[in-house]
Symmetry: C2
Subunit: 792 residues, 2 copies
Amino acid sequence: MDSCFFSDHISHHVSATDRGQLYSKNISMTKRSNFKRLLVLCWLVAVLALVGTGQTPKPTETRSARSHPGLVLTKDGVKQIRSNLGKVPLFDASLADIKAEVDSEIRLGIVIPIPKDFSGGFTHERHKRNYLMLEKAGVLYQILDDKKYGVYVRDMLLAYARLYPTLPLHPQTRSYSRGKLFWQTLNDANWLVSASQAYDCVYEFISPADRVVIEKDLFRPFADFLSIGSPQFFNRVHNHSTWGNVAVGMIALVMDDAELLDRALNGLKEDGLTAGMKDNDGGLIKKEGQKTGFLANVDEPFSPDGYYNEGPYYQRYAMYPFLVFAQSLQNKRPDLKIFEHKNGILLKAVNALLNLTKSDGEFFALNDSQKGMSIYSRELVSAVNIAYLFGRRDPALLSIARKQGRVQLDNSGMAVALGIKSGLEKPFEKRSIDLSDGPDGKQGGVAVIRNKKNDDELALVLKYTSHGSSHGHYDKLSFSYYNNGEEVLQDYGLSRFVNIEQKGGGNYLKENTTWAKQTIAHNTIVQNETSHFGGDFDTGSKYHSDRYLFDVSDPKVQIISAIENNAYPGTRFQRTMAMIEEDSFEKPFLLDIIQLDSKTPNQYDLPFYYFGQIKSANFKYESAKALEPLGKANGYQHLWKEGNAIFGTENAKISWLNKGSYYTLTSATQAGDEAMFVRLGANDPEFNLRRDPGIIFRKKNVQKATFVSVLETHGSYNPVTEASRNSYSSIDSLKIVFEDEHYIAVEMKNKAGVTSLFVLSTKDDRPTQRHNIEISGRPYNWAGPYYRPALK
Amino acid sequence: MDSCFFSDHISHHVSATDRGQLYSKNISMTKRSNFKRLLVLCWLVAVLALVGTGQTPKPTETRSARSHPGLVLTKDGVKQIRSNLGKVPLFDASLADIKAEVDSEIRLGIVIPIPKDFSGGFTHERHKRNYLMLEKAGVLYQILDDKKYGVYVRDMLLAYARLYPTLPLHPQTRSYSRGKLFWQTLNDANWLVSASQAYDCVYEFISPADRVVIEKDLFRPFADFLSIGSPQFFNRVHNHSTWGNVAVGMIALVMDDAELLDRALNGLKEDGLTAGMKDNDGGLIKKEGQKTGFLANVDEPFSPDGYYNEGPYYQRYAMYPFLVFAQSLQNKRPDLKIFEHKNGILLKAVNALLNLTKSDGEFFALNDSQKGMSIYSRELVSAVNIAYLFGRRDPALLSIARKQGRVQLDNSGMAVALGIKSGLEKPFEKRSIDLSDGPDGKQGGVAVIRNKKNDDELALVLKYTSHGSSHGHYDKLSFSYYNNGEEVLQDYGLSRFVNIEQKGGGNYLKENTTWAKQTIAHNTIVQNETSHFGGDFDTGSKYHSDRYLFDVSDPKVQIISAIENNAYPGTRFQRTMAMIEEDSFEKPFLLDIIQLDSKTPNQYDLPFYYFGQIKSANFKYESAKALEPLGKANGYQHLWKEGNAIFGTENAKISWLNKGSYYTLTSATQAGDEAMFVRLGANDPEFNLRRDPGIIFRKKNVQKATFVSVLETHGSYNPVTEASRNSYSSIDSLKIVFEDEHYIAVEMKNKAGVTSLFVLSTKDDRPTQRHNIEISGRPYNWAGPYYRPALK
């Protein structure tokens, strides 16, 4: 046995990381093939020896056979499903799709390549497809009671059990936590989450002898590698470790292994990690005194409202392991009452996530997020199904499920399909909502303000959260704005092409750091061309913005106001945004007020990243004859300067057309204010960035500054009828008519000659507090944080 | 009467143009209001005087009362429609839509503003809406037999009859032919085409006395102004004059005026125009010996295949007057057999037009065309309905009508709706097609090559037409390429925002001349940075390209090849494009071969205007630190140079991703060849141009040159599953292995190791001619213009 290099897989005497290094030192690439044969031989000898001598860990079948399947599917559940087959259209359709997909893969045969590629590459995509097929085939075996699927899962697991002990660390070295099947442990954990379910489904089909092999050579070492072997991955609070914890927990439940389950729920007692360690994306690995394990990963990143601190894109990614493990725990360990944990946070999280979407179901692009991800993803199908069954069977979830058009093939999916069949569905109404951030809900939040008329919805997202862990961006008080499914003012999202191998192996590109995370990439204030917190992760992670006011009680005047004190030491800024309905405006407009107060004079930039084609500007500007980058660093190096203007005291007005709708931004500028037309793409030799446009308003050398603007959504253009409707702004003038330490008042005159006033108490948000001020010689008095007198 | 400035409206002693100039010389803007009152007074006096003395032209009611309606609707037709109401879903739905629209306008009341604005402006849009409402209300009067609509039409016509005699030329002076209601006579003609139909519908409802007023003060002077008063508009071959001819012809038919009808059909005998005159878009007005009138406008711009020389966007615009007048002639003057004219050209034209669309129904953007225009336009609904009824009731047209979802409210629409109701519909299959250009079909053409598998279609459009009148672009042998509804390699289209007043009054922008019409704006050869024919309209109008070969007999190898001898004197170039299916390629690929032969050494540029984001390039390139325009003139001044490369002898390969599909362009470059990454937008201070990207291949200082490239369409990316599939090119190498005066052979090796050869006989296209050549020491012999040996 000493000659067999990988015996430590069983005994764990050497850490996985050490092994990988040792391996790559001793074995040259060209000799691996012969070496592999030798390894297989070693393995056979070892297994036979161990099996023969009874030295193997005790197989688990006697302890838990009674409960297979019992993880996601249950014995009773399968009975119920089988009895309903052919009677529940949505379930039957989903089953038919999955059967067709798996049958086609079975025809192709089992392919288990030696791991080599980054995501997007062949070996990565094949192993990924394998675990999806394992999971689906396992389910088909149970539901259809067809041996074919049992054989497929068994044979694939046995094949993996042959391969796994031979594997060194994955040859790609980019990750802070390299896997074995994949370039990062994260994907290995994805694999185990699916494979555990497959194993649970076919457990009774597989012979005890095969189970011994599969558990001993594959699942146990796999779970150990993910946890003990990868503490920097397993023992943190992050979506990565959530996957790791869940993978280990799922296989623990199948194998009925209490020690493994404890490891999954509560983390490693000892991890040997030093506080302050970072991963390859710059994310913190170890915080002093950090609790770890699944429960810590539920407790910490989720706010009491169910917002996940990394943002909806990663929340979607993490929801699947959170919920599938919760479902499994509920089935296997109902005593843990996991769905009641932290006031039912896991179910609240599903609701929060569904609210963080545009009207077409795509997630708002907060922090690192790839655009286009939506409620139609596999993870959300699962989340909605589980939330329905294990929650209070909210009929509004059924309308989401119907849009998704498929269910997962388990009891939760059957419950949903039956609910739809029974006509229980109600619309899922997304209303204005303010979601707190932080474990105790005290680290700022995200406000979503919506105005919906018939099928037309305008939505504002103002972000005033904590940093968002390693996926956070430096964009305090930034906002994005949506007209139905269209982005009006965008959040850029991430700079990455997930799973597209040609683009840096599908991983984060350097432009994610140099552009996407920088403050200038967002619709918020940049002081002196530097990002918030100097772009420093540790500093940024200490702070969050604070809510000042969220009041949507009047559907015609919905307000969010928040304050940031730490992004720039010595500078305080408050942003107040209101979505306002007013007669003589076709649609609600967005009022945006930013008040800055600093101890020192600064330059302030405020970008608006629009989409579409500019139709008119009411000011003179210079157009660049050659394009130069706008700056040298902090994201400015990526912007070309297409034009610039210096304003007088008139309002600056700029209109554009995008996807059939007109937009006009009117800004109350002061003499000497500047603006720049910019376009992304400078210093981007690899074409990693989109060539998106923006306009940046600039105030120079001021301590106090106030930016006030109104964005109108109006009119339409139809290229088939060629009819242009209501293409002009309805605003005649926009003025700050009062501002002091406690109040700001903005006056707007529309083209019908009607004047409106918006007064905000900026330091006292008490709902019944009375205020008295004089504006332009007229007294105003009212109660509450804001006042909007009748139009005159 | 001498004191009344506009008495010439009746007597036509002064030409309209003279009047307008006189008017604007004598009357200052601020005094117009009082002057208008005076005019109205004059007009009243004049009318009363004329009516009282019996000097009016004889009213027409006695002659043609029996045949109203008889133009588009007929008495029998109305009976048939009424008897089917409530029974034919598509017709009923269309009727309900139009009724709702007109009822809502009737509630708003009649508004007839004094003309003032460009298109997109209030007065323009109002008069436009008025004529659409007139037409629709007239139809509703007939179909619903409801007086309300008769009153509305009558009152509006009477109001126009009061206004019209008071109108000078439209105050906007941009057009070569200013209208009265609109800034260009063209729109006045649009007005009359609709108003004639409305008048026909309510003719019997209006009292004879009112008819006298309407004909005398409105329709007759209107028709005279469009024809005698605007010979530069009326007496040419152009879509403008088509509208003019039809407008005059329609009202002639309603008023039963043979002289007017002759004028419409055969043009003005005397027009006083000088040959060589141009309009404000640079289009030729008068050609020596030019026939004019409606029949000439049918004979000349349509090829025998039904292709209209200005391109599909304008063909769509012109189809409506062509067909609605043909329908009216068929109803009123069946003896003229208009639908049989020139071998049934008007019906063939509808078929040609339907074939010039992407799979989503949008027209290919040949010449001046605004993107997004489609078969869903009002004009195409009408065209399809008329072509169905007056053609051979082609059931394939019913499938188009069903997609359109509405019919026109006449007998043709009823026939279509009944056909659909009766289940007669068959699919409209768009196949590869080669449409000739020129009155005799001898001025080149447009080839559309399609490859459709299930619902997936790739389409190539190669343009080798004549110039295309004033809407033509300088782009001989240019092509565009489509993947279903998406543009893969685009034709830029026009630089204009039709009806968007903010953009130059909705008219052609100067960038249409400086960019959109220039050769560099297209996917074709530019020699020495100058456009074809030096960008000279007169020269370009003399020539056309020639077809060499169109062979789509083998669905796996579909070929078009054409030759251009005149774009650059002394230079001949031939472009051969083939859409080829080959095993081991997921989808058909596009082979593009351009062979140039010149008497002098030149620089040749070949641009490809792709959409989407570049994923990889297999060559080194320099990335610009600052962007400079690529050149000074001929469109080059509008391109920023983002990067450039100098190639070795390897293939240059560049891949991009657009809307979920990968594309790879592989080019057989030679040492010293260059390429430039470009982006549109330089010297565009008004943001009139889209910021679209392109790559330009360049060969310098060569007499003969050959560009060979292959475009693959492959794989997919889905942002919801984040799965990237088949994202790499399947081509290992691409080489020219033989080329002489008579043949070219291209060899391609794919990644599966399979080599394919494509041999073209470039000078002899006879189908049975035998050829013998030796390539790389191997003999090849075959019959016909091309050869593709079995793969090896």
